[in-house]
């Protein structure tokens, strides 16, 4: 359960190797936290993450979860709940970035990204919020991206999955009002992480730790949508309305 100052006892990270997801979990850790469950395709690869979270009185487990394998999602949530009890915070942080070139060469790469980032996320979010309705509380954090605000030619497949996910999460957030549960959308800009290594940074880039700090602050203040860094909200208010002839010329990267 969550206490009066927003400290939580049980955290589930969907995308247990996601640097942002894990950073948010770490930022949420307090002496009240009892359990963190890291869910990813290969749990044997999260040992270093487990170790980095470890502290007295906290149990960190890794479990198998494949965001793209939607038929397994219902059982997955049932199993996590059976083992760990009520879910206080679920961080939806899995996703494929891919490259636009891959997608251009092989349409199936684009399909795979779309399926994982959108269909898979919708599937697990529906299962999570179904559980939230039953338990009468819970908070889902959905990692969207500014890439979905207006898709760029440099990564429009990825961007479009985030656009879809963001729109879905907004509706889901509204649907949760009155259930005791809530959904928060996080729209980070370019984040320096393993996922973006080798990519050219764009202005207003940020780090997983900064995203995590702002996310937890927003969560405790009951925010519905946050941008990280916050200035991107205003930047994109302008970007959204740039003439397409200019927008097309946005740098690759």
């Amino acid at each position: 359960m969550e206490n009066a100052v927003g400290e939580v006892q049980n955290i589930l990270v969907l995308g247990g190797r996601s640097e942002i997801g894990v950073a948010i979990a770490r930022e949420l850790l307090t002496p009240s936290t009892q359990r963190v469950t890291l869910a990813c395709r290969r749990p044997d690869e999260t040992l270093d993450v487990e170790a980095s979270l470890s502290r007295d009185g906290l149990r960190v487990d890794s479990v198998i979860f494949d965001g793209a394998d939607t038929p397994t999602h219902a059982d997955f949530i049932d199993n996590v709940v059976a083992t760990s009890g009520d879910l206080d915070v679920v961080i939806l942080a899995f996703g494929l970035l891919g490259t636009q070139e891959e997608c251009d060469d092989d349409a199936q790469s684009a399909v795979k990204i779309a399926h994982t980032n959108y269909t898979g996320a919708v599937s697990i979010a529906m299962e999570v919020t179904k559980r939230f309705r039953q338990q009468g509380h819970g908070r889902l954090i959905v990692l969207s991206s500014v890439a979905g605000e207006r898709t760029r030619k440099a990564n429009y497949v990825y961007g479009s999955t985030k656009a879809g996910l963001d729109a879905f999460a907004q509706g889901l957030s509204d649907a949760m009002v009155g259930t005791g549960a809530s959904v928060m959308i996080v729209r980070p800009g370019f984040v320096h992480s393993a996922m973006t290594t080798g990519m050219k940074a764009v202005p207003f880039s940020t780090t997983p730790d900064v995203v995590a700090k702002l996310t937890v602050k927003g969560l405790r203040a009951g925010k519905r949508i946050i941008w990280t860094p916050g200035i991107l909200r205003w930047v994109f208010m302008v970007m959204r309305h740039l003439p397409v002839t200019i927008w097309r010329r946005m740098p690759e990267g």
Partner: protein
């Protein structure tokens, strides 16, 4: 479910940690229906929702409020004993019993609590040092168990279950009605002595020596001042006024009881609220200075002495959208140094609101989860969004644990299962009794989940 119910978002009086449950107002004959139809998230009774934290919430389950009427209460004037439905509030009871020359045996700082809640939280008041908590005055109560059977229990009738129910936070069954002793009074006034203390040491000294001469004693303390003024405070000690003390004019209607409602805080308050460092410091300064250094024998009405905040409806809204929490703990006698250290820690953090109360407790009762222990209890209201509050409270928790102290479940909204296990060494004994009457875990609450009570 056939009976009328609706889904509601519930919080405690502190307006933090909301959760959603199916709620319904029921008469005692309806309770069994809801028990039968409940899902795995269980059932919980809720009174007037004055617990500060999540004690009267049951996320995803059923939360029932028992209808009650003070008119149906049975008063045995000769024995000074009352039988009241668990859903009846002290507010309604006082209107009936004060004009007939009786007062409730224990009242907390608000009269807007139910009789059932008074037992389930084993509430205490300003007379704890001499007369114990609410459970001490209960002769008998009717309890509906998870299997739907109804049992009469009391200190000499199934005492194990009785004392597990006193302070049991509603987790042993549904309290249907309660028989308890009353205090006979000659007038509806209290004779109050006021003493202003320059710091916490003066206050502790004063309470240690003078409390036993009075039925009631409680102190307000300023938890924003530090240094030589650390814990400066005002101590009010009182007794029910005797008829002979009144002037002939007042003696004409000695038992007049008319609690006033001054105003209500509107539903919309700026989200940051009105309680902050500046407003609290200002309030504390004025509040301290308005009291005389020492005054003996002033008269106060029951509402103004016992329930001053009740004159303002929904005062909890003053804290804004973030809500607040009331941190209350007890430390045993002999731990006055630790008490001072905690007061200093809170004072330095500059987080406390003006609502701070220190009380000297008397003997504990046999209930395994009853909060009061011989020693000191400090109560501090704090805006929930105060910067660094979680960290501050965890470190105070640690000091409370190391001093052999404990937290009050009816107030708690923050602490951990560890702190409760350490603070209540008889928790396992209580769990065993609880499990024996509720093997299917029908009775559940957010508090019980968070603190692993069941």
């Amino acid at each position: 479910m056939e009976t009328d119910d609706t889904t509601s978002r519930l919080t405690g009086w502190g307006r933090t940690s909301p959760s959603s449950a199916r709620t319904a107002e029921v008469s005692r004959s309806d309770v069994a229906t809801f028990i039968k139809d409940s899902n795995r998230r269980g059932v919980l009774m809720r009174g007037l929702g004055r617990s500060y934290g999540d004690a009267a919430q049951n996320a995803g389950g059923v939360v029932l409020t028992l209808k009650g009427s003070a008119q149906e209460a049975i008063l045995d004037v000769d024995a000074g004993v009352l039988i009241a439905g668990a859903g009846v509030s002290l507010h309604d009871l006082l209107k009936v019993i004060v004009p007939r020359g009786f007062f409730v045996p224990v009242t907390p700082g608000t009269r807007f609590v139910t009789v059932g809640g008074a037992v389930a939280s084993d509430i205490h008041g300003k007379n704890h040092h001499g007369e114990g908590s609410f459970g001490n005055h209960v002769r008998r109560l009717t309890l509906m168990l998870a299997d739907g059977t109804i049992h009469e229990i009391g200190p000499d009738q199934n005492p194990t279950l009785f004392w597990a129910t006193v302070g049991g936070m509603g987790l042993t069954g549904v309290i249907l009605d309660v028989t308890f002793g009353l205090i006979p009074i000659e007038t509806s006034l209290c004779t109050v002595n006021t003493i202003r203390c320059r710091n916490i040491d003066e206050l502790i000294e004063e309470m240690s020596h003078g409390d036993d001469d009075h039925r009631y004693s409680v102190a307000w303390a300023d938890l924003l001042s530090t240094g030589s003024r650390l814990g400066r405070s005002v101590l009010w000690r009182g007794d029910h006024t005797k008829l002979a003390e009144l002037s002939s004019k007042d003696a004409a209607q000695p038992l007049r009881y008319e609690p006033r409602h001054l105003a209500s805080v509107p539903p919309v308050v700026p989200s940051f609220g009105f309680v902050n460092k500046l407003s609290s410091s200002l309030f504390n300064e004025l509040w301290f200075r308005k009291e005389p250094r020492r005054k003996e024998g002033g008269h106060k009405s029951i509402p103004s002495y016992f329930h001053p905040l009740d004159a303002i409806g929904s005062w909890n809204r003053l804290y804004g959208a973030g809500g607040f929490l009331q941190y209350q703990f007890a430390l045993p006698f002999g731990r006055e140094d630790e008490l001072r250290q905690i007061i200093e820690k809170v004072a330095v953090s500059k987080t406390a609101s003006p609502l701070v109360v220190l009380k000297r407790f008397g003997a504990a009762n046999p209930a395994p989860l009853s909060f009061p222990m011989p020693g000191w209890t400090l109560t501090v209201d704090i805006p929930a969004r105060a910067e660094g509050l979680g960290t501050l409270l965890h470190s105070v928790d640690e000091m409370v644990m190391q001093s052999g102290g404990r937290h009050y479940l009816a107030k708690d909204a923050h602490t951990t299962p560890t702190a409760i296990r350490r603070g209540y060494p008889r928790l396992d004994e209580w769990k065993q009794i609880q499990r024996s009457v509720d093997p299917g875990q029908l009775w559940q609450s957010d508090l019980a989940r968070r603190l692993e009570l069941i």
